[in-house]
């Protein structure tokens, strides 16, 4: 069966490239074609690749794969085409692409890469997808079918036609039927088109909608076409309606994700500013230190990138927390009750920390890599996908929030912190060491800022200015939420994020920011103590 199919495939392909086939009579055509690779210009490569694919030799898949990956080279001396991989000695291990003969390793200067561009790689991907349709592994078949769905071509559609009946995997079968239905919609009779339209009307893939729109535009307005036209416009309307719902969900997700970043940035400040009443302008730099800690961890353990973030979280907490305690012990405690001086002093500290980082790590941005599990997105359906990094950061922000809540509500440290912040003198009278509590609280707030920095290193640039970008927003969130209220910070951060993201598409990022700010000012006019004002005597 498979053999029969490959013969069939061969015929179809040769039909497609009949001009090329007139020269390629036998199986031995492949070496001659491969020989042309080094001398071909990019423009001539397209037809050449088609010819190579048309030979249907067993090596074709591997050769094209190597070419697509950019591992196909040729020797400058004799134009022999080889696959090359860098080895530990910075030389290239070479293997002849046709007979798999291993050649002596050479320096980079002796070989030259066979160039491809995006268009060629796409072409190769399509060809490989067609070959993969018969693969044993359902996952490979699935990605091949997806590729074919996005870039339909005759060869592929013919193979799908032949393979559809024998396909076992549910998902692959479903997508195959979509491919065939779209083909039917485009080439079938009016009745077939109508049937295809009704069957496809609940598909969310963008190709389906595009096919509908294209058909509707092509269809002449005559009475016999009326039912089809109506079906098409109804299907398009249906898809568009669903699309607008998913767009809304998507915006909500974007808003929550921006909100969770704001939450992470602000939550440490809620403690230092909200609970202790210290205006800490160096809060942003604590985040920066956290981000740089991630960088240092990745540099120290280059083989453990996948786990680097997990290691960085406690490390960043300790580093930033330690620096926070130093700042509290060294500067802030001498300025107690003098907010203006504290503000200026901490601003000075923030400049010192920035310059320190510039001196140690250079003023250039540092490269923090994203682990594999933070890349890509979770596809809910063809219209809705959530990126993993944002998803994890939302979860992480909530985790940090609730652990902090637990610390403040359930531990003796939290009890002391609350006692000192509510009535310092009374707390001292009850034998709580208020200066010690101050230092620990400041350290805790700073440590959480450091943890936020780890998350930020995955979203933005790790450079000396990282902190400055977030300090204003953090203060806004804390003020909006109500000074000292953790729940207020949570609600404020998520509200601001969501508002921003809903306004952004219609007004652009700058205007959206301005409107959120103006709204905030008006809100504060009405409720000067924010969303969740502290009650009781402590608030006065």
């Amino acid at each position: 069966m498979l053999r029969l199919f490959s013969v069939f495939l061969f015929c179809v392909m040769s039909f497609n490239t009949s001009v090329a086939m007139s020269e390629v009579q036998e199986n031995s055509a492949l070496p001659a074609l491969i020989k042309q690779l080094p001398t071909s210009k990019l423009k001539q490569m397209g037809p050449l690749i088609d010819q190579i694919a048309a030979t249907s030799e067993p090596q074709v898949g591997a050769i094209l794969q190597t070419l697509m990956k950019g591992d196909l080279y040729y020797l400058k001396s004799n134009k022999q085409v080889v696959s090359a991989h860098k080895n530990a000695q910075k030389e290239y291990r070479l293997t002849d692409i046709l007979n798999a003969e291993v050649l002596p390793a050479l320096k980079k200067s002796a070989i030259k890469k066979i160039r491809t561009n995006n268009r060629l790689r796409k072409q190769i991907r399509d060809i490989l997808a067609n070959l993969d349709l018969t693969d044993q592994d359902p996952a490979v078949r699935l990605s091949a079918v997806k590729q074919l769905l996005d870039n339909p071509n005759q060869v592929g559609i013919h193979s799908v036609n032949a393979l559809f009946k024998g396909e076992q995997d549910e998902q692959v079968r479903e997508l195959m039927s979509v491919i065939l239905l779209i083909d039917q919609l485009e080439t079938g009779s009016t009745a077939e088109k109508l049937a295809a339209t009704t069957q496809l009307s609940d598909r969310l893939e963008s190709v389906v909608k595009n096919a509908f729109v294209k058909q509707l535009a092509l269809l002449p307005e005559s009475p016999e076409n009326l039912p089809l036209r109506e079906a098409l416009s109804k299907a398009i309307g249906n898809i568009e309606q669903q699309a607008s719902v998913y767009k809304l969900v998507e915006h909500l997700f974007f808003g929550l994700s921006l909100g969770s970043v704001l939450l992470l940035a602000a939550i440490g400040l809620t403690i230092t500013f909200g609970v202790m009443g210290v205006i800490n302008m160096a809060h942003g730099e604590m985040m920066m230190l956290g981000a740089y800690t991630t960088y240092v961890i990745q540099q120290t353990f280059p083989n453990l990138i996948e786990y680097s973030l997990l290691m960085a979280v406690p490390a960043a907490f300790l580093v930033s927390g330690f620096v926070g305690i130093l700042i509290e012990r060294g500067v802030i405690r001498f300025l107690k009750g003098r907010p203006l001086e504290t503000l200026l002093a901490t601003f000075g500290i923030s400049l010192i920390l920035q310059q320190l980082v510039r001196t140690i790590f250079s003023p250039l941005n540092r490269q923090v890599e994203a682990p594999q599990w933070m890349s890509g997105s979770l596809e809910i359906n063809p219209m809705l996908a959530f990126t993993y990094n944002r998803l994890y950061i939302i979860l992480f922000a909530l985790m940090v929030f609730f652990s902090l809540l637990m610390i403040l509500k359930k531990t003796s440290l939290g009890l002391h912190v609350r006692a000192v912040s509510q009535n310092r003198d009374m707390a001292r009278a009850l034998s709580i060491k208020s200066s010690w509590v101050d230092a620990i609280t400041f350290g805790l707030g700073s440590g959480i800022a450091g943890v936020a920095g780890v998350a930020l290193s995955q979203l933005t640039n790790v450079g000396p200015n990282l902190g400055q970008a977030y300090i204003i927003d953090s203060f806004l969130v804390v003020v909006f939420g109500g000074v000292g209220s953790l729940w207020g910070t949570l609600v404020a951060a998520l509200t601001m994020g969501t508002f921003n993201k809903f306004l952004e598409p219609s007004m652009g990022p700058v205007l959206a920011n301005i409107i959120v700010l103006v709204g905030l000012v008006l809100f504060i006019q009405k409720r000067p103590k924010g969303l969740f004002p502290q009650k009781g005597r402590a608030a006065e």
Binding site: N118, R125, K214, H251, L364, A370, E379, T460, G463, V510
Partner: protein, 427 residues
């Protein structure tokens, strides 16, 4: 006591002799007006070092007109008005013969009136938006028709793009470039609904919405491409978001005008591989001149990992041309050198010859490269010959009749060919 006196006396004598010697030698002074601190320091410090390296090289060859070249470095600190002040200092106080400097368009516009007032001479080495030609400035970076227009041609002819997203940072260069591109795309028959434009502030980091919009815009069944004039820092989160939302360079390629080797050296390049950039120079181009230049640069800077980039080549060409023009004129007098400059030819680092035209812009080749995993570019397309830089875009209604020609008899930076008049505006 005696010893101290002796030291003081001898140091006075030595200083006196040295100053005398310096005056006697009557050095040629080259001003360097690049920011060494502030936001632009990252990019501009490299160019300062390039000028210093070129001066060192020239002095090793025996200087210029039998004199030594001496660099006067000032720091305008990424502060645009300070460019005018420091420019004035270079021209009026230091009496430099030529200035190499400036990166952003706003800093160039800031120093321009000073150059024209004091009749100075400046070489500007960065790709820019055009719509300017001053008698006192030579533009060795690319004009829009040497970068943006060929890039669009490449996207249309080689990628087959019919829908375009123009993303840019919100300032003068992206706005003017996009205005030109929109006019050019309209001429090429691209409908207004097939063009999406978006501007973001400097350092924008939350690209979720915009990338999702690009994805939606690109899923309408037509090949879509992004033309990016996004500047600096904002690029990393942008490309990261593209990668995470599953947009590959094969689906929607991004061609960037502000992303070069230097910018890539701080990036995690994985999400960028396969995306494009248009420049007149790439470090990866293999020519003898380029290899010598790279080797010299690495040796001068003492770091094997440092890269070279397009504005460095522009500085290199500018400096070589100035040296040649001074030799041709036999003097460093600004007016004489300005006239001698026109027609001067210098080999490009990427092969071919760069020629200075009468409009103070260069003719040079345009290259399009794909980003590789090691942060280098691989050339996938190049213009068959050189492209002549056009000061005034032919695609904007306000400037299509304007030409710049600094040779007799026109001698005007914005000559209107329809009315045959020079508008009198100097820049």
């Amino acid at each position: 006591m005696k010893l101290k006196k002796l030291i003081v006396a001898s140091s006075i004598v030595v200083t006196g002799v040295m100053t005398n010697f310096a005056y006697a030698a009557d050095n040629i002074k080259v001003g360097v007006l690049h920011s060494l601190s502030g936001t632009m320091a990252i990019s501009e410090t490299t160019l300062k070092d390039t000028v210093l390296m070129m001066i060192e090289e020239q002095n090793e060859k025996g200087g210029l007109l039998g004199k030594k070249i001496e660099a006067v470095v000032v720091d305008p600190a990424s502060n645009w008005p300070l460019f005018a002040e420091k420019g004035r200092e270079l021209l009026a106080k230091e009496k430099v013969d030529v200035i190499f400097g400036s990166w952003t368009s706003v800093s160039r516009k800031s120093v321009l009136p000073v150059l024209e007032e004091l009749n100075g001479l400046m070489f500007y080495p960065v790709q820019y938006e055009g719509e300017e030609s001053s008698k006192n400035v030579f533009y060795t970076g690319a004009a829009p028709n040497q970068q943006a227009i060929p890039a669009v041609d490449y996207l249309m002819n080689d990628i087959g793009a019919t829908r375009f997203v123009l993303l840019g940072t919100d300032y003068v260069y992206p706005r003017t470039t996009n205005k030109i591109l929109k006019a050019y795309l309209a001429i090429k028959g691209v409908k207004a609904e097939d063009i999406m434009v978006n501007y973001t502030p400097f350092g924008h980091s939350d690209w979720q919405n915009i990338v999702a919009d690009v994805k939606r815009f690109g899923s309408q069944g037509k090949q879509t491409a992004v033309i990016s004039t996004i500047n600096g820092d904002a690029n990393i989160p942008f490309y990261k978001e593209l990668g995470n939302q599953g947009i590959s360079a094969e689906d929607i390629p991004v061609i960037a005008f502000s992303v070069g080797e230097e910018e890539l050296s701080g990036f995690d390049t994985k999400p960028l591989v396969g995306h494009l950039a248009a420049w007149n120079y790439f470090q990866s181009v293999e020519t003898e001149e380029n290899e010598a230049f790279i080797a010299r640069w690495k040796k001068y800077i003492g770091d094997d990992k440092r890269v070279t980039n397009d504005p460095m080549e522009a500085t290199y060409i500018g400096f070589k041309m100035w040296v040649k023009a001074v030799e041709k004129a036999g003097t460093t007098d600004v007016d004489a050198v300005e006239q001698a400059m026109i027609g001067i030819a210098i080999p490009n680092l990427t092969g071919g010859i760069a020629v200075m035209n009468a409009n103070h812009h260069l003719s040079k080749p345009v290259l399009i490269g794909e980003i590789q995993e090691d942060g280098q570019f691989e050339v996938v397309w190049e213009t068959p010959g050189t492209v002549m830089g056009d000061a005034w875009s032919d695609f904007l209604p306000s400037s299509k009749d304007l030409v710049s020609d600094w040779t007799a008899p026109i001698k005007c930076g914005n000559f209107n060919v329809k009315t045959a008049k020079c508008s009198g505006q100097k820049f």
